[in-house]
Symmetry: C2
Subunit: 325 residues, 2 copies
Amino acid sequence: MQSEIRKKLLDAFTNAGEIFLSGQHLAELIGCSRTAVWKHIEELRKEGFELEAVRNKGYRIVKTPERITADEIRLGLATNFIGRNIHYEESVESTQKIAHRLSNEDVPEGSVIIAEEQLSGKGRMNRAWHSPKYSGIWMSLILRPNIPLTNAPQLTLLTAVAIVQAMEEETGLQPVIKWPNDILLNGKKVTGILTELQAEADRIHSIIIGIGINVNQKKEDFPSELQEKASSLFIESGKLISRAGLIRSIFKHFEKLYLLYLEQGFFPIKLLWEGYAVSIGKILKARTLTNVIEGKALGITDEGVLKLEDRTGVVHHIYSADIEV
Amino acid sequence: MQSEIRKKLLDAFTNAGEIFLSGQHLAELIGCSRTAVWKHIEELRKEGFELEAVRNKGYRIVKTPERITADEIRLGLATNFIGRNIHYEESVESTQKIAHRLSNEDVPEGSVIIAEEQLSGKGRMNRAWHSPKYSGIWMSLILRPNIPLTNAPQLTLLTAVAIVQAMEEETGLQPVIKWPNDILLNGKKVTGILTELQAEADRIHSIIIGIGINVNQKKEDFPSELQEKASSLFIESGKLISRAGLIRSIFKHFEKLYLLYLEQGFFPIKLLWEGYAVSIGKILKARTLTNVIEGKALGITDEGVLKLEDRTGVVHHIYSADIEV
C-alpha cells in the first residue's frame, strides 16, 4: 500500500515535468490525505531527491539522487510491465540468485532485481564478474515466455540489441555485439549478459536474464588483469552517465523488442541484431564443450545459431561456445 | 563426522546379514571407540530399528522401522552415488522446492530429498499431487549430466524404466509406462515423474527428478475423485511393501541405467523403454500447447520423441503433450 502511493506520486511528478503540483492536487490524484503526501515527499528527500517547494504552487522534482533507487527508476519509466516491479538491494551475493528465488514465488513477469554491488557476481560458465559499488548496473530480469526450451538463447541476443539501443540513446556511443552475449566498445567488454532458466523437461517456468554493465568506473577501478579487456561507458565517452536513465531506456527498448518477439518470433530481432554484430565476416575460433572450430562467421540462422565456415567450406552450426576473434 | 560413523555402521550390518558383530569388531572396522559404537546403536534403536544383542556374540539388526529413515535406506544400498547423500524430512511443502534450493548449494550429484509427506506436492504443469504421510514415496533426485537441454526429457523415460524394474523386483507386479511420465497398474496411475531443470541458455546446471509413488495406501485413502484413476502397490498386490526396500532398488536400477545412458546415449534406454510402454500401437489423443492431434502411436524416436500417425498417414513428432488413450 505504502509503495503503491509512492509509485503514484512518482508517476504524477513524471507526467508533470517542470510543472508544480500542489499537495491538495496530489492528494486527490493519489486518493490519500495531504498528510500522507507530505510524509512521502519527506521520504523522497531522505533518499536523495531534491524537491523545490513554492508557496501556492506546490512541489516539483529538481534533482534525483546519486545512487540508484527504485523510485528514481520509476520516475519517468515508459513501460507496462518490464521494470514495473523493482526489488532493490544495496549489496548482494548475486542478483541472479535472488531472481531464481523470487521467480519461484510467482512475482509478475518483468520483475527486476537491482543491486548497487555484487559480492560474487557471475558470468557464463560460472566465471566471476566484477561488480563494484555505485559504478555499474547489476540487475536480473524475470520473464515467463511460452517458448520452447531451445529458443532460450534467442533472448540473450534480444537483450543485447535492447542494451545497445539504450546505450546509443543515452550516451551517443556506438557499441557492437560479440556473439553470443558480450557488448564491446573499442574492442573492450562493457557488458555481459547471462541467460538462465528454470523449466520442466519440456516447458519453461521462467527465464532469468542477468545484465552487468560497466557504467561510471574509471580505468583504475578495474583490477589490473581486466584493464586491457574491459572498459566502461565513462571511459569511452568521458561523461558520467545516469544509471537510472540508462536502466529506464533499457527497459523501454527491451519491452518493445520482447513484445515484437512474442508476436512475430525471432526473425525481426535477427535483422536488428545483425546490424550491430561485430564478428560477421571475420575469422573466429569457437571453443565448444567438445572441440575447437576455426572459420569465417557467416552470420546467424533464423533461430539465432552461429554459422561458421571452415577452410574446407563446411558450414558448422554453433549452439554454444566461447569465441575468440 | 557423526553421520560418517553411522554410514559405516550400517554398511557393516549390511555386509554381515544374519551374522552377529561384536562391539569390539565394529569399533575396529569403523575406527572409533566402543563407547561411540554403543551410542550409535542406541540412536538406531530410537529411530525404530530393533537390534538383537547376545553376550559374547554382539549385535545384529532384526527389524527396520516403519517410517522411512535415511539410515534404513542406507542399510543395504548398492550404489556408488545415487542416494548416497540423503536429505530426509518428516513434512515439506514439496521435495522439488528443497531440491532446487540444494542444487544451488553444490550438493553432490545423486543427492536425494525424501519426505514422509508433502503438503503441496506438484506434478507436471503445476497440477497437485496427493502425498499423504507414511504411505508413499515422495522424493527428488539431483543430477548434473553434461547433455544438451533438448535431451532432458529422455531422463523422464529413463527414470520410468528404473522404477518399473524396481517394482517388478520388489513386488512381482508388472507395471506399464504411459508416455511420457506415468506408470500404471490395471490402467490406474501408481507413479508420476516430474523432470525439472536449472540451466544457462545453452548448458544444464542441474536436473531435478521428482518421483511420486503410491505404495501402501488403501483405496479409501485416496480422495474420491482419484479412486477411479489412481491406485497403489498395496491395492494391486494385496501386500504391504517396504518403502525403503523399493527406494534402494530404484536407486540401484537408476544408477545402472544412468551410467549406461551417459556412456552410450539414449538408444539402449529406448529399447528397454519400449518393452514396458503401454500405448504403442494404440489410438491416442495428444493435447499439445497449441493443438490436439489424434493418431496411432508408432513408438518413440531414437531421441525419445513420440511419433503419432494421423488418419491421413502424416506422422507427427510430439515433444510435449497430455495423452488420452
